[in-house]
């Protein structure tokens, strides 16, 4: 399979007045044609910086990147002809224009002839179920329909490579599901439809991607198909523990021998904290449970779970995705 996207030692450093941040640290990746590839990582991991460099919005500090064989620094014009970028949570067009006018405007910028543009706009609005809003001003659309418009704009030019930066950010479950399945179908249908998706939703990456790379602090920690990455965890044990507390300090868990990592999710509404603990041996669990009991924490539920991509991340970093919920590597 020939490569749609290839990076070698891609590095990007942001120099601020008070600090220097290495957003990407020698990232080397190869993404094949027709592949739906996911870049999975927490906020600030370097996902958007990676996409910005590949879409020619940003220059790398060092390293190389090629999109469909074109160098993103030296051949930016050629790259722009074959790509499209759709980001989540952004304004998809001019609020003063209607949905149809916005799509028409961008179709002309993409060089589509009038007949083709009309046909494409009609088809995309029908496929993404927002024909009824064709004459509605973009400013009056809900978040979900704005994102449908955004995706339609991104697909107008029949890009060879579609970059999706957190495309379902802030969307309701149904809209997110619809957009996800549409994107996967599009990639299958298109002759050379490659998709690079960044997300911090594990289930999204799991559901959509042929392969995923896990990125943290600008470094690629692992890369492979979701199943392969999860298979690697088969030797470990993963337990989900729900406790009736949102204030308890669970820091002792990562100090225990045999704990690979853990994450905690606090639910303020129910007053509970869900711990996901990964250990190398079953016996460690009983020790953890007795420590929880010693701390007089009410245990609401204990379940053994199958590995997910989040567990892959926990096993690599020692903590979960969400900020403020970190445990550390044991």
């Amino acid at each position: 399979m020939s490569q749609s996207i290839e990076t070698r030692d891609l590095t990007r450093i942001f120099k601020g007045k008070s600090e220097t941040v290495k957003a990407l640290n020698k990232v080397s990746l190869s993404i094949g044609e027709k592949e739906v590839f996911g870049l999975l990582g927490p906020n600030g991991a370097g996902k958007t910086t990676f996409i910005k460099i590949l879409t020619t919005l940003l220059l790398p500090t060092s390293g190389e990147a090629h999109v469909d064989g074109f160098n993103v620094v030296k051949e930016a014009d050629k790259v722009r002809k074959i790509i499209s970028l759709v980001s989540g949570g952004e304004t998809p067009g001019y609020g003063i224009l209607s949905v149809r006018e916005n799509l028409w405007f961008f179709s002309q910028l993409y060089g589509l002839s009038s007949a083709v543009a009309k046909e494409k706009i009609k088809g995309l609005m029908a496929d993404l179920d927002f024909e009824e809003y064709a004459n509605t001003r973009m400013a009056k659309l809900s978040t979900g329909y704005r994102q449908r418009l955004n995706l339609a704009r991104g697909l107008l030019s029949d890009p060879k490579i579609l970059f999706l930066d957190e495309p379902t950010l802030g969307l309701d479950v149904l809209t997110a599901k619809k957009l996800r399945s549409y994107i996967v179908d599009w990639a299958k249908k298109e002759a050379k439809g490659t998709v690079l998706l960044t997300t911090h939703y594990m289930a999204e990456a799991d559901e959509m991607c042929d392969r995923v790379a896990i990125i943290d602090q600008g470094r690629i920690l692992a890369c492979g198909s979701p199943n392969t990455l999860k298979e690697n965890l088969k030797e470990n044990q993963i337990m989900k523990v729900e406790t009736a507390s949102i204030q308890a300090d669970f820091g002792f868990i990562d100090k225990m021998v045999g704990v690979i990592g853990y994450s905690q999710t606090r639910n303020i509404q129910t007053g509970t904290t869900t711990l996901k603990i990964m250990v190398s041996d079953d016996e460690i669990f009983s020790k953890i449970m007795s420590e929880l009991e010693k701390a007089k924490l009410k245990i609401l539920a204990v379940n053994k779970t199958e590995p997910t991509l989040e567990d892959v991340y926990i096993s690599l970093v020692g903590r979960g995705f969400e900020e403020g919920e970190a445990g550390t590597h044991a």
């Binding site: 910005k52 879409t55 020619t56 919005l57 940003l58 220059l59 930016a76 014009d77 722009r80 002809k81 790509i83 499209s84 970028l85 952004e90 304004t91 998809p92 067009g93 001019y94 609020g95 003063i96 224009l97 006018e101 028409w104 405007f105 961008f106 002309q108 910028l109 993409y110 060089g111 002839s113 704009r153 030019s157």
Partner: protein, 286 residues
């Protein structure tokens, strides 16, 4: 790049500029606004001149000088419309509409889109100019009886057209320079436009002869293409002053070429810095 794509982009940008300019009002209100704004400026300057002349010790009104001021003020509309529209569009598209990155990433490229938006400014300015000239003459000449020595049959239309064409290149180039500065900076779009148009108004011989400026002011005036632009326009319409049209056009071309080099240079630097520093989709929190 396909010529068709460029033409489509320019056409759509003109249309978009028109939609953005007019979306807040119905056509009649919009037309009134486009007339009132430059006309008000002309009336203010005109009445100051009239009252100043009558209140002076000699009490003599100079119709030649009034015409000089009248024409200069009317044609200055190109500076305000073209350059201002170009200056603020980067801020509008990047911060307000958040679409600049998609335009930047389109095959047609940002510069053709900006050119289209600027041409919308040229069309608006031309409409505004015709309305202001017409209503200005109606008010001053028709209602107040002020003699403005414009001989419509004697207008040198080839010189007028040539001056306007070269002048448009100059204003577009300076507009690209402002776009470039606005790509690299934030929050200065309105201030910057005011400073630039204010400088051109002061030193460009819009309402008074550059010769009355101090020597350093005259040096600045001699370096500005608008000075030669307005001289040519005035000669074409009013046939004022001893005038060497060819030399003036040569200076206009020379300073316009300088403006084009400056405009393209600043814009290229801005495009590079935008990619280096990630400025195309920068968010501004204010």
């Amino acid at each position: 790049m396909a010529v068709n794509t460029i033409l489509r982009t320019v056409k759509q940008a003109i249309w978009l500029g028109w939609k953005i300019d007019t979306n807040w009002a119905n056509p009649l209100v919009f037309a009134i606004y486009y007339l009132v704004r430059p006309l008000a400026s002309l009336l203010i300057v005109g009445f100051i001149f009239l009252i100043g002349s009558l209140a002076s010790p000699s009490g003599v009104f100079d119709p030649q000088y009034f015409a000089y001021m009248f024409v200069g003020n009317c044609f200055f509309v190109y500076v305000t419309h073209v350059m201002m529209s170009m200056s603020i569009l980067i801020h509008e598209d990047r911060v307000h509409y958040e679409v600049l990155k998609h335009i930047y990433l389109s095959p047609a490229s940002l510069k053709w889109y900006i050119l289209g938006r600027a041409l919308n400014g040229v069309l608006n300015a031309s409409t505004s100019l015709i309305l202001t000239l017409g209503f200005g003459l109606l008010i001053f000449q028709g209602l107040l009886g002020v003699q403005i020595p414009i001989n419509w049959l004697g207008i040198d239309f080839p010189l007028l057209a040539l001056s306007l064409i070269i002048g448009m290149f100059c204003f577009l180039a300076l507009g690209f320079m402002l776009c470039g500065i606005n790509i690299m900076t934030s929050r200065v779009q309105f201030m910057l436009t005011e400073y630039v148009s204010g400088t051109l108004y002061l030193f460009g011989g819009v309402v008074f002869l550059p010769e009355i400026l101090p020597s350093w002011g005259q040096t600045i005036s001699n370096a500005l293409p608008i000075t030669y632009f307005l001289k040519s326009i005035r000669f074409a319409i009013l046939h004022q002053t001893s005038f060497d049209a060819q030399t003036n056009i040569a200076y206009l071309v020379l300073t316009t070429v300088g403006a084009i080099i400056l405009g393209i240079g600043v814009f290229k630097i801005a495009e590079y810095k935008a990619r280096r520093d990630g400025l195309i989709d920068r968010k501004e929190e204010y």
